[in-house]
């Protein structure tokens, strides 16, 4: 993660700021993944346990597209990857969720769990278990401001994440589809009576969720190594973010995503880096103990 643990003697505030900014970068990634997840929760009232695999496939797709397209085509590769994964997400809806619509919460959890197991093991076969490195040249350039340094890639992550979040906001608030999605999230029965087609809404939700998760994978790929099981931990953290921000709460997912990124980064930087992943769990359990509905949450009714 770039935390400079050997240089703790440096001015604490700079170290703090550095870790915090790194955390914001990761937070942007978490937010992107969590947004798709929370949309699926809020609009379709289902849990997608295979969401991390969309992130993973997004990373690999970007890798392959940028190799295919040649040097300097990384942005285009990202776009292609987003389209591809959005398409795969459509299959999620058609195969895993639509047949189980209306049958409660447990079946969809199990079907998406099965898909997750299927996909990441398939990834092991297709991509091999050896982690891969994505090179974009943007990791070579570093930007410095206010005592904090960021590679261009990390800056890009932050900028693109914020941009996509803004786009999502515009889609949800300003478009017809967005209004229909909000209506369905509020009251599916009334929405159906108003003539809103739940199947089209579901497809749109998955397409958006898939594209965002793919973007997250595409952006983070050049920073860390890519491996087939990367979706598992990402999915878990995305769930933590969604639960913290409240199921279906879009703003909550964004805030909680950035918050988790920063907490993790500061915790790993100043407490113990070996237990970095632990923090997400710890935060989850503490918050759920205090508020079973999540931190900024909706009612627990949505959860089960």
């Amino acid at each position: 993660m770039g935390h400079r643990s050997g240089e703790r003697f440096m001015i604490p505030t700079t170290e703090f700021a550095q870790q915090a900014v790194n955390g914001l970068v990761m937070g942007g990634v978490y937010a992107l993944i969590a947004l798709g997840l929370t949309l699926i929760f809020g609009i379709l009232d289902q849990a997608n346990f295979a969401h991390g695999e969309l992130y993973m496939i997004g990373a690999y797709a970007t890798l392959y597209f940028s190799e295919f397209l040649g040097g300097g085509m990384y942005p285009l590769a990202v776009v292609f990857a987003m389209f591809s994964v959005a398409f795969i997400a459509l299959f999620y809806e058609w195969l895993l969720f639509r047949p189980l619509r209306g049958k409660g919460h447990l079946p969809a959890i199990i079907s998406s769990l099965g898909a997750s197991i299927f996909l990441w093991n398939l990834g092991l076969i297709i991509f091999g278990s050896a982690p891969r490195q994505m090179r974009t040249g943007l990791s070579e350039v570093t930007v410095n401001f206010w005592g904090v340094s960021l590679t261009l890639q990390r800056l890009l992550v932050l900028v693109v994440a914020l941009g996509l979040i803004l786009c999502l906001y515009l889609v949800i608030m300003k478009t017809r589809m967005g209004r229909a999605m909000r209506a369905t999230a509020q009251d599916p029965e009334v929405a159906a009576l108003l003539g809103i087609d739940i199947n089209r809404i579901a497809e749109a939700t998955f397409i958006i969720g898939g594209a965002l998760a793919a973007a997250a994978g595409a952006l983070i790929g050049p920073i860390f190594l890519i491996y087939p099981a990367m979706g598992l931990m990402a999915c878990l953290k995305a769930f933590v973010v969604v639960i913290l921000g409240g199921l279906g709460n879009v703003m909550g997912a964004v805030i909680a995503g950035f918050a988790l990124g920063v907490i993790e980064s500061l915790g790993a930087g100043f407490i113990a880096s070996a237990y970095k992943d632990f923090f997400a769990f710890l935060v989850l359990i503490l918050v759920l103990w205090a508020r079973p509905e999540g931190f900024l949450g909706k009612t627990a009714k949505k959860a089960g």
Binding site: F41, A47, F49, L95, L96, P99, L100, K103, H105, L106, P107, I109, I110, S111, S112, L113, G114, A115, S116, I117, F118, L119, N121, L122, L124, I125, L232, L236, F239, V240, I243, L247, F278, F281, L284, I285, L288, W289, P292, A300, A303, G304
Partner: protein, 325 residues
């Protein structure tokens, strides 16, 4: 099936099972059969929580592991006899079941799944990191097996060969499964189902859902812990690598394919999915891919599993369906 026909079938099956070691001489095959016994217990215990009460517990392997480590440590560090250690393993797991069950009381659906998953992973990390207690990732070797059973110093049954272990796990399974069956067919079993169907409604018919949910976790933990204890003293080596999320997924596949919420489902699932890897030796890298696929397909097309399918097929042909399975 009518009561007497059932009894006769059961006795025949039991007889067949007792006869197994005469037929199966190859220790490796016997080992697989013994492992299937362990997995039947694991699947049945998970079924109590996830199938009957409808509460997805993705940390179930932790109960398995706690049973194994608890029994091992109690025997090797505190000097308890192995038989007592195995029982203690189950009881200590119950304690953890209650400890984990309490914060999970208000959680449902995905919340519950993620939290139990988190608990499972935390347990595994504890196994890896509490080195003075658990010896960390290296695991614990040289766990003693059960002492020979006999009078004075004449051993009648010694646990040197797999055959004795086979009879032991058979005995444990029969005992545990009879208990589970009794519970499922009793008022308690009905309260489990009521909570699965409509938890709020269950409260309004007089069920103390908090008490029942904790009891449910405790029961599931107990049988998984017993399986773990047996495993420890059978294989005589345990390490955190055995008690992973992947293991929980495998157990979940057993329950889903066998039949969520049924009594025979986890038995069928446990046996099938212990033997399947052997049959699929040639394509072992594709095993988990297959499991994932099967789990999704099953929950969509046969949500009550193989046993559920058979049950509805049978009751479609007879006047009344037999609901007691």
């Amino acid at each position: 099936m009518k009561g007497s026909a059932k009894l006769i079938t059961s006795l025949l099956v039991l007889g067949g099972l007792i006869y197994v070691p005469w037929v199966v001489k190859n220790p490796y095959y016997l080992h697989i059969i013994i492992m299937s016994g362990i997995f039947v217990l694991l699947a049945s215990s998970m079924n109590l929580i996830t199938g009957c009460t409808g509460r997805l517990n993705l940390g179930h392997a932790a109960f398995y592991g706690i049973g194994a480590y608890a029994s091992t440590l109690v025997v090797m560090k505190l000097g308890f006899p192995v038989w007592l250690g195995m029982v203690m393993g189950g009881l200590i797991t119950v304690l953890f079941g209650v400890l984990i069950g309490i914060p999970c009381l208000k959680l449902k659906g995905a919340y519950l799944a993620i939290t139990t998953l988190a608990f499972g992973e935390i347990t595994r990390l504890a196994m890896i990191n509490f080195v003075p207690l658990t010896n960390g990732p290296l695991g614990i070797r040289g766990i003693p097996g059960p002492p020979a059973i006999g009078f004075n110093s004449t051993p009648l049954i010694s646990f040197e060969s797999k055959t004795s272990y086979y009879y032991l796990i058979l005995f444990i399974c029969v005992l545990c499964l009879l208990t589970i069956r009794r519970v499922l067919n009793s008022q308690i079993g009905r309260t489990f189902m009521a909570i699965r169907e409509d938890e709020v409604r269950a409260e309004t018919v007089g069920i103390d859902t908090i008490q029942v949910k904790i009891m449910n976790f405790a029961l599931g933990a107990f049988f998984a812990g017993i399986a773990g204890s047996f495993y420890a003293h059978y294989v005589r080596f345990i390490s955190p690598d055995t008690f992973t999320l992947g293991e929980t997924f495998t157990i979940l596949t057993m329950v889903v394919i066998g039949g969520l919420g049924t009594f025979y489902g986890p038995i069928v699932g446990g046996v099938i999915f212990t033997f399947l890897p052997e049959l699929l030796r040639a394509i072992s890298e594709y095993r988990m891919i297959l499991y994932g696929l099967m789990m999704s397909v099953a929950i969509i097309f046969m949500p009550d599993g193989i046993v559920g399918l058979l049950q509805s097929w049978i009751s479609g042909r007879t006047e009344k369906g037999d609901k007691s399975t």
